[in-house]
């Protein structure tokens, strides 16, 4: 005989899960009792939302679904923001929650919450398991759904008695058969042909690359395509890292907070090939501004994204991996007309400007710009949300590494827990966090997770004692009335670091900051660097 809880552990093992992030509670105790003896590593976070963010960071760096676990009621509801964040950014994730016993369901007992109902808008799919026998099928389906098609979070809610009940034997299904879920991954040959024809005829083609290029694991092939055709590339926030920042044909991030040259390229292009991006309002605020004569090719795994935000002439539904291979096979020897290449090269010179320096402060954009060279080329930079996100998105010179941030939901407090997940997925890579003093305080409780596991994560706090991005908005649209954007009562972050036993330092100039960083890159211990930033430093 085997219990539901043991089956849950065995299912995770069958899926090759080696680490889960979670927080226990009564309704998930049977599972915790079984994972205790298993080979799966459980990382105890300090609040459930961070378990979901850690699973997200893990998934993005490992290419496999991240797993987070919480108990019923508040444990489960705390996960929601993390699940929603993963949903908007299409991150594969399995969220496992305990639930009250099936005979008590719906009776508002202690720590009962309808979590499948509450998460409905934010999950790709969810299960409330009501038979122990169903567990293997549910896990198999959940991992399949989370990691195929347009990836996303799947929630499995498991009542306590379902975890306790025993069944005869455990058999993990080999195949899934979900009648209503057969994602189309192969691009349509005729549409590919039309796309190739349109590209061949274009004078000023442009690629807009999104997170889909990264999640499909086709980055290098994508770079080959761009190299071969010389088509210039701009990216969305989620697409940062598809090309090395210094690549001659890469013009940075587009959108309201992006690079002027990227937006200019979008405006002047006669053909735009959108690859694995949904083009949200921050990317293309006014889709009609894309010139009337621009031909749009849109490649996405999710048919619902095509034509949703931007009018599309050539839709290609499929996995970027398959479509990119087909495009490479049929593009022939097309290269971009010389004139457009020269234009792009001239623009590229304007990509990075040197911002003014304020005495006694760190200039964050310059610091971020120099950061990459100080770390190894595959470094993972995790940016939080706020001005720090824009500073990073526009200035970090990514090489072969990753840039992680929450693009769709813009969840403050993402960076530290996501970095924890990233570090577990890629223990040998440099992992750097950049956050503001606002976002740091949203998840600084995770310093315990970092210290407890001695995770080599370098945290840079851009301290301006402001909620800088909102403050900027207030300056622009609300007559400079700084309602609730001045951070009062902030703790001494160095003492916080000290309390957790984490090495730390403070910098008030770029030179000082860079010297400190150069001194710590080789260390295998976590580090917190507090950079004092001039409060009126703009985002862009």
């Amino acid at each position: 005989m085997i219990s539901g809880a043991e089956i849950m552990v065995k299912c995770l093992e069958a899926e090759g899960v080696s680490v889960v992030f979670g927080y226990p509670g009564a309704a998930i105790c049977p599972f915790y009792d079984k994972i205790y003896d298993s080979g799966i590593k459980h990382i105890l976070v300090r609040q459930e939302q961070n378990a979901a963010h850690a699973a997200s960071g893990y998934a993005r760096c490992s290419g496999r679904p991240g797993v987070c676990v919480a108990t019923s009621g508040p444990g489960a509801t705390n996960l929601i923001t993390g699940i929603a964040t993963a949903y908007t950014d299409s991150i594969p994730m399995i969220a496992i929650t305990g639930q009250v016993r099936t005979d008590l369901l719906g009776r508002d007992v202690f720590q009962e919450a309808d979590i499948t109902g509450a998460c409905e808008p934010f999950v790709k799919h969810s299960y409330l398991v009501n038979k122990t026998e169903d567990l293997p099928r549910v896990f198999k389906e959940a991992f399949h759904i989370a990691s195929t098609g347009r990836q996303g979070p799947v929630l499995i809610d498991i009542p306590m008695d379902i975890q306790e009940n025993e069944i005869e034997e455990f058999v993990y299904p080999e195949k899934v058969n979900i009648i209503g879920y057969k994602p189309n991954t192969k691009g349509h040959a005729i549409q590919i042909k039309r796309a190739i024809e349109a590209i061949s005829k274009s004078k000023r083609p442009l690629i807009v690359a999104g997170g889909g290029v990264l999640s499909s694991g086709i980055k290098l092939k994508f770079q080959d395509f761009a190299d071969k055709t010389k088509i210039p590339v701009i990216s969305t926030m989620m697409g940062i890292g598809v090309m090395p920042s210094e690549h001659e044909m890469y013009l940075g991030m587009l959108g309201t907070h992006g690079k002027a040259v990227a937006n200019r390229a979008l405006h002047e292009a006669d053909l735009v090939m959108v690859c694995g991006a949904r083009l949200g309002d921050r990317a293309v605020a006014a889709p009609h501004q894309m010139s009337e004569n621009t031909t749009v090719i849109h490649i996405d795994i999710d048919p619902a994204e095509i034509g949703k935000n931007v009018k599309t002439e050539i839709p290609i539904v499929g996995d970027m991996r398959n479509v990119m291979n087909m495009l490479i096979d049929s593009i022939g020897d097309f290269t971009v007309p010389q004139e457009w290449r020269e234009t792009v090269k001239a623009w590229k010179k304007d990509l990075y400007k040197t911002p003014p320096v304020f005495d006694g402060f760190v200039e964050p954009r310059t610091l971020v710009g120099n950061l990459s060279a100080m770390f190894r080329s595959k470094a993972i930079l995790v940016a939080d949300v706020g001005q720090n996100q824009i500073w990073c998105a526009n200035n970090f010179r990514i090489r072969e590494g990753r840039f992680l941030t929450t693009g769709g939901m813009g969840t403050m407090g993402y960076s530290i827990p996501a970095a924890v997940g990233a570090k577990f997925a890629r223990p040998t890579r440099d992992v750097i966090v950049i956050c503001g003093d606002g976002s740091f305080q949203m998840s600084m409780n995770e310093l315990a997770t970092i210290a407890g596991n001695n995770l080599n994560i370098k945290i840079i706090i851009m301290r301006n004692s402001r909620l800088g991005m909102v403050r900027e908005l207030q300056d622009k649209n609300y007559g400079g009335r700084h309602s609730a954007t001045i951070l009062q009562g902030d703790p001494d972050f160095l003492k916080i670091a000290e309390a957790y036993g984490i090495d730390h330092a403070e910098a008030s100039s770029n030179e000082e900051a860079e010297n400190i960083i150069k001194g710590i890159v080789k260390s295998d211990r976590p580090f917190i660097l507090v950079c004092n930033v001039y409060p009126d430093t703009p985002s862009i």
Binding site: P121, L128, I145, G180, Y181, P303, A304
Partner: protein, 163 residues
């Protein structure tokens, strides 16, 4: 533009809330909704009548297709399908007016299914337009109560919506 969607779904708990939630979440309005099991007991069919322009309908179809328990979504083409609603109307009916009401009900090919001292209950099964006509005709007598199902619809001829 009014349109009719036929949706085949897996017959399991929570599917209806997933679908109705999708409508409210994305700001789409439902005019009517009807659910029932099909010849396959594992599959239910939902018929939704809703309003929106071409962009809205296309988005809706795509978003519905993304729901895992949704097996198939088909937009029924105007004029190519038969649709029915069932309505029960309780009409105020003074003795002097009874003959008039019976005549109206006969002309519309509806049926009186219950009679009391001061009212009659009329049953009618027709497309939404004809149902509305009957309501208009009976309104002057005083309608006490109406119960109406959502529209169910099926393709004309050999076309069908199946798994």
């Amino acid at each position: 533009m009014q349109y009719t969607l036929s949706i085949l779904v897996e017959n399991q708990a929570g599917v209806l809330s997933k679908i109705s939630g999708l409508f409210s979440r994305r700001g789409f309005n439902i005019d009517s909704l009807a659910v029932g099991v099909t010849n396959d007991p594992n599959v239910s069919r939902i018929t939704i009548v809703a309003n929106g322009d071409e962009y809205v309908v296309e988005q809706l179809e795509k978003q519905l297709n993304k729901l895992i328990p949704v097996i198939k979504v088909k937009r029924l083409n105007d004029g190519d399908f038969i649709s029915r609603e069932l309505i029960l109307i309780k009409v105020h009916c003074a003795a002097a007016k009874r003959a008039e009401i019976i005549k109206t009900v006969e002309i519309m090919q509806a049926k009186i299914v219950d009679v009391a001292q001061s009212c009659v209950t009329v049953e009618y099964c027709e497309c939404a337009n004809r149902v509305n006509t009957l309501i208009d005709l009976l309104k002057p007598y005083g309608i006490r109560e109406i119960v109406r199902t959502g529209t169910v619809a099926i393709d004309r001829g050999t076309a069908s919506v199946s798994v």
